[in-house]
Amino acid sequence: MPTVNNALTDLTIAAARDGLDKGDFTSKELTEAHIAAVEAARDLNAFITETPELALKRAKASDERRAKGKAASGMDGIPIAVKDLYCTEGVETTAGSHILGGFTPPYESTVTQNLRDAGAVMLGKTNMDEFAMGSANITSYHGNVINPWKLDDGKDRVPGGSSGGSAAAVAGHLALGGAGSDTGGSIRQPASFSGIVGMKPTYGRCSRWGMVAFASSLDQAGPMTRSVEDAAIMLQSMVSYDAKDSTSVDQPIPDFAAALTGDIKGLKVGVPKEYRLDGMPGEIETLWQQGIDWLKDAGAEPVEISLPHTKYALPTYYIVAPAEASSNLARYDGVRYGLRVPGDSLDEMYENTRGEGFGAEVRRRIMIGTYVLSAGYYDAYYVKAMKLRTLILQEFQQAFEGVDVMLTPTAPSPAFAIGEKMDDPVQMYLNDVFTVPASMAGLPAISVPGGLSDEGLPLGLHLITKPFDEETLFRVGGVLEEAANFTAQPSYLGGAS
């Protein structure tokens, strides 16, 4: 078992950057410490593919740049984990699915190329729910991911999903940051379950080019880190306008970290009353109220607002996302890449390949999508959902005329044990009840650790702002983080426990 240098794996990205700049340590040393942590923590199953040689090569190049005084960015030399949904040149990319087994992209996604150009050091590709469909990281072909947060009841808990591998890697101090992706909450909900920061920018900020598609009108890349400042630093190296993605938005890119001024005096914080669900655990309600009080103490003004269509966002999502998935996943036919299961005819080959290559949840969602798009049902389901989506967007737009930011819980519960909530798909889908509405409206949102549940598991608070106002999101997130002073650590750190 390699020895883990916790002095290096416990750092934030900002502190590691400063240490590298001052010459306290090299990226090679930082990277070696994290490679050791990754190897020592294999029982978390956070990584599908480890890339230690590649990481050391990139760390060496980073040290050479820095020695010449030419660090590429605040991410130069920083070891990160990359969700296995980003196509990475020469490194197998599976999206957690059997059907992509053996697929090695000859190209790099725009977001991971941006991170490479910024000097970030990829440690490997992280586990995830198959094709990002799940809220517990229990649908991966490569097995369940274990949350580094444990209680003394001997049960393994889920890290949330779908970016569960990146969440576990960051929470367990195996990487300083993680690239995730969020379709309905897949960055924010695992961040809440794992006690870290997870941020989804405005739809269009990050290019989707080279990301394995789930639901194209919702998919968005984002950072998963151990501080709000780190999320701002990492996001800076992920965003770009990209002509290769027709939904990429050509907007000025601000200095995100500079937005963390700590000053939120006079900001209006919307508290949507419809997020107060029947049967919501008292600890979630208490933390939410605590969050409102923290922002009020910092000089912001809480305002109760109403978003009456909130409860329809999740069922609307379960039409829109599967519909888009059924179209996007039609490309997996066994002809050009990945798994092929032979058949006597071309159709039989398709059916065999897709029957065997897709897991149960993906098959289920493709079938929902196929049904809602099929002749005779298209208007009743798909068009209806797109009309609901208009109403949800308009409702947010109206509410943001009166407030600067909204505060809600991130998830309706803390992390649950592996095996729970598995019998009924709808129960599992409810994990994303607070994160899906912002996704439906393309809005930026962040989950910040707020405190611990009665049992001692992390709970997140969730902020939403107007389109392209990530600066307010980071500013308020920073204030929330400071007030919460979340210093609790998972029992399992850097493979050291």
């Binding site: 053996g102 697929f103 090695t104 000859p106 405005t202 739809y203 269009g204 009108s217 002509a243 938005v249 050509d250 269509h309 409860k311 329809y312 069922p315 609307t316 379960y318 039409i319 059924s326 036919d333 002809v335 050009r336 890449y337 990945g338 798994l339 092929r340 006597d344 005819s345 071309l346 159709d347 039989e348 080959m349 398709y350 059916e351 065999n352 897709r354 029957g355 897709f358 098959r363 289920r364 493709i366 079938m367 929902i368 196929t370 049904y371 099929s374 389901y381 209806k384 959902a385 797109m386 009309k387 609901l388 989506r389 208009t390 109403l391 967007l393 798909p425 709808v426 409206a441 393309g442």
Partner: protein, 96 residues
């Protein structure tokens, strides 16, 4: 949603589903669509369906070749290719 409907959707989606799974899928999909039915409570008669979440004009570019002539890279991940090594994907015979 009955087994015949599930089998029809599976056929449309080109996914082979076992008999046992057809049975459980019929139940699960029925539950999911029962839950989705609540959308009918909302009157959407005069609402335009959303086409884009961010109001923006679709970008256009000059229609010119900027890539290509790279068959080996395209075929790199092919599960099967003709025995003579030519630049095609091989699939089961389609035309008798």
């Amino acid at each position: 949603m009955d087994k015949a409907t599930v089998n029809n959707i599976a056929k449309l989606a080109r996914i082979k589903v076992s008999d046992a799974e057809t049975e459980s899928l019929a139940g699960e999909l029925t539950n999911i669509f029962d839950w989705i039915e609540q959308l009918n409570e909302v009157n959407t008669d005069n609402v335009e369906p959303m086409t884009s979440v961010v109001a923006m004009a679709m970008p256009s570019r000059v229609d010119e070749v900027n890539d290509g002539d790279d068959a080996e890279r395209v075929l790199k991940n092919a599960p099967d290719r003709p025995a003579d090594g030519s630049s095609f994907y091989a699939v089961p015979k389609v035309v008798e």
